[in-house]
């Protein structure tokens, strides 16, 4: 999918050289249509042998019964824990993480210096830093948070020691979630972040201009900032790990690899998956498309082991979680979490009420 689909042919060629009896055909599809295409493939029983799969789609596709469970000879402890969990549905592992990404704090060092702040390590420091960047640093906003994006909000719940689903029960109304909501809400109440994010908004522009001096995002923003900021911004920004409450947990995303059980070549399919998971192949893949390896041992050599920014991502990946892989997650995330989060941040609803609504609505959608 996307760049991966265009470049995977290269690895497939290498694989075929050592496995001459297997022929791998790569079909690239664009990310924005990938979900629909795979759904259609399942409905028509015309599934590919192996597919890349967005980590948040796992619950849905496992639920169709079209995925083949991972064979025992793949050691799932080689992956980052948070990434591995994306593929475990009802106790069965239906896929393996291929590459990962996680979110860290991006901040402008020059504005921070002017405002006299050091990279925030705790919740309180983050709040204070945002305040200072705005008031003393002269930035338009202190930080850029989305009023309605669960991916930005859930890490705060996890950092607070909470979760939204535990043992198949919704726990949106737990005190940890309410407290996280209140904390998140304050950035909006105090005017430290913009109260709406236009469709298609990219924070890079605001970050380069200095209006949005802090934000949370994944590794892709490093090259975006370098591109758009140019020489002027060199040395004026840095990244830092997630702030801590009880933990400093972040969000983990990326892609998994799955094998469909309608495949006639399951053995060969899993062999190809195993090949893609080899540490040297994972490193080669990083060198080709900059996707961070999901296999931990791949990080022990080369640029991944020496570059300080990459190392920070590597460290953050050890404390990163993903949303529960339940079939209805997409609906719960969008109709419930995003909608109620928006009501709490900009719609004037109290944190308690928002948490209560989330619990009630999510429960009526259910985990099945």
């Amino acid at each position: 999918m996307g760049t991966e689909g265009e470049k995977l042919g290269m690895l497939a060629k290498d694989f075929m050289r050592t496995n001459p009896d297997v022929k791998v055909k790569v079909t690239p599809i664009a990310w924005d249509v990938a979900h629909d295409k795979l759904i259609t493939a399942v409905a028509g029983n015309k599934t590919p042998d192996v597919s890349q799969m967005g980590t948040t789609w796992m619950g849905e596709f496992a639920n169709t019964g079209a995925l083949d469970p991972v064979p025992d000879d793949i050691d799932t402890s080689q992956f980052f824990e948070g990434a591995r969990d994306t593929a475990v549905v009802d106790g069965t592992t239906y896929g393996v993480p291929w590459y990962v990404e996680t979110r860290v704090l991006y901040y402008r060092t020059d504005i921070a210096k002017k405002a006299g702040v050091t990279p925030p390590k705790t919740w309180d420091q983050l709040q204070a830093a945002a305040q200072a960047l705005k008031e003393k640093g002269g930035a338009k906003y202190g930080i850029s948070l989305s009023p309605n994006n669960w991916q930005e909000f859930l890490p705060f719940v996890w950092q607070n020691g909470g979760d939204v689903i535990k043992d198949n029960e919704m726990t949106f109304d737990s005190p940890e979630v309410v407290e996280a909501l209140k904390y998140y809400q304050r950035f909006f109440k105090d005017g430290l972040t913009a109260d709406s994010v236009p469709e298609g908004f990219d924070v890079t522009q605001g970050f380069v201009a200095g209006t949005h001096p802090m934000f949370f995002s994944g590794p892709w923003h490093m090259s975006l900032i370098e591109e758009q900021g140019g020489a002027d911004l060199k040395g004026k920004w840095d990244i830092a790990p997630m702030p801590k409450k009880k933990t400093g947990t972040s969000f983990v995303g990326g892609s998994d690899l799955v094998v469909f059980n309608g495949s006639d070549n399951k053995a060969a399919a899993w062999a190809f998956v195993k090949y893609l998971l080899r540490p040297d192949v994972q490193r080669k893949w990083y060198a080709t498309v900059s996707d961070l390896p999901a296999v931990q041992s791949a990080w022990e050599q080369g640029k991944l082991a020496t570059d300080p920014h990459l190392q920070l991502f590597g460290e953050q990946l050890k404390d990163a979680k993903s949303p529960p892989p339940i079939p209805k997650w997409e609906q719960i995330a969008s109709e419930v979490v995003n909608a109620e989060l928006e009501k709490a941040t900009v719609g004037g609803e109290s944190a308690e009420q928002a948490a209560k609504n989330m619990q009630q609505k999510a429960s009526s959608i259910g985990t099945e």
């Binding site: 629909d36 759904i39 399942v42 409905a43 029983n45 849905e60 639920n63 169709t64 019964g65 079209a66 009023p147 309605n148 109260d195 709406s196 994010v197 236009p198 469709e199 298609g200 209006t211 079939p327 209805k328 997409e330 609906q331 969008s334 109709e335 909608a339 928006e342 009501k343 900009v346 719609g347």
Partner: protein, 312 residues
């Protein structure tokens, strides 16, 4: 009666039936290409979605279609208590009730103006007003998203020149739907204008001359001559525009994603979300049928109200 006569008597109708049949057959053969496409791509999916709307069809039924539960009218009764559906229905209703008259009025005013204008300006304005109709909606929506951007958008920059601090058009609940309506009107009135213009040029000038002789003011001429003669055109445009507006989708989809706080969520968008994002295909079909019924009812009412020919 002889056997021969009997035979003869039967033979005539038989031949007629055959010739009529073969004539029909030729007709059907000509219609066949369209008919096949209609059946395969329209009739069957339409009927299938009607059937779907009575089931709980979801992602788990994708591989075995007939494993979906029959739920009767559950999907429809769920609509009655679904807050988001109510919101979507209200937004769509506002879009139609405000947008359709505005579009028709703008189209009529532009057509009247063009009808008076002469020479090359007429062509220039006609093209200018019609251009948005034939431009890709996605391109338009993306451009408008920039124009309405609160930080670097042209609209607020112009307002700033005259000292008005423009709102965050698409980001605030109070202005988002209004912005979408404005975009819809701007984009669509060109079509209405062209039709009105054709209708205006079809009005016999003798009628105006006669009215002038009788001493009618321009307003009276418009009110008593132009409007009544435009009635069929108004009906046609009201129906076409309403049907289009009830299916509002692209504008909010590209500009706001339905937000903020669902204030620009339309029924068609909700169908899309339930069907293709959440894969509740049974429920999505029920919403689609509710929309279909609304379109039929509205069209029926418009025919009733606008058809009566009291003036002509």
């Amino acid at each position: 009666m002889s056997a021969a006569a009997l035979e003869h008597g039967q033979a005539v109708p038989r031949r007629t039936v055959w010739s009529r049949l073969s004539r029909h057959l030729t007709g059907w053969l000509f219609a066949l290409p369209w008919l096949v496409i209609f059946l395969v791509f329209l009739a069957i999916p339409i009927l299938a979605s009607l059937a779907l709307s009575f089931t709980g069809f979801g992602i788990a039924n994708l591989r075995d279609w007939f494993s979906a539960d029959f739920v009767g009218l559950d999907n429809y009764s769920k609509l009655l208590s679904d807050e988001r559906f109510h919101k979507a229905a209200r937004n769509t209703a506002i879009f139609v009730v405000v947008g359709v008259p505005l579009t028709l009025a703008s189209g009529l005013v532009a057509a009247l103006g063009l009808n008076q204008a002469i020479g090359r300006f007429q062509a220039l304005f006609r093209v200018g007003y019609y251009l948005p109709v034939v431009t890709s909606i996605v391109a338009i929506a993306v451009i408008w998203r920039y124009l309405l951007n609160p930080d670097f958008g042209l609209v607020n920059a112009v307002l700033g020149l005259v000292g008005i601090d423009g709102p965050n058009w698409l980001g605030e609940k109070s202005t988002a739907l209004a912005s979408i309506i404005a975009l819809g009107v701007w984009r669509n009135f060109g079509f209405d204008m062209v039709i009105f213009l054709a209708a205006l040029q079809g009005i016999n000038p003798v009628l105006y001359e006669a009215a002038k002789v009788d001493g009618a003011t321009p307003w009276a001429m418009f009110r008593r001559v132009t409007l009544p003669l435009l009635r069929p055109t108004i009906l046609f445009l009201a129906v076409i525009t309403s049907v289009g507006y009830l299916q509002l989708f692209e504008e909010p989809f590209v500009m706001t994603g339905g937000g903020p706080l669902d204030s620009t969520l339309s029924v068609a968008m909700y169908v899309y979300e339930q069907g293709f994002r959440f894969l509740n295909l049974g429920y999505a079909s029920a919403i689609a049928y509710a929309l279909f019924i609304a379109i039929v009812v509205l069209t029926f009412i418009q025919f009733r109200v606008l058809r009566s020919d009291e003036y002509v």
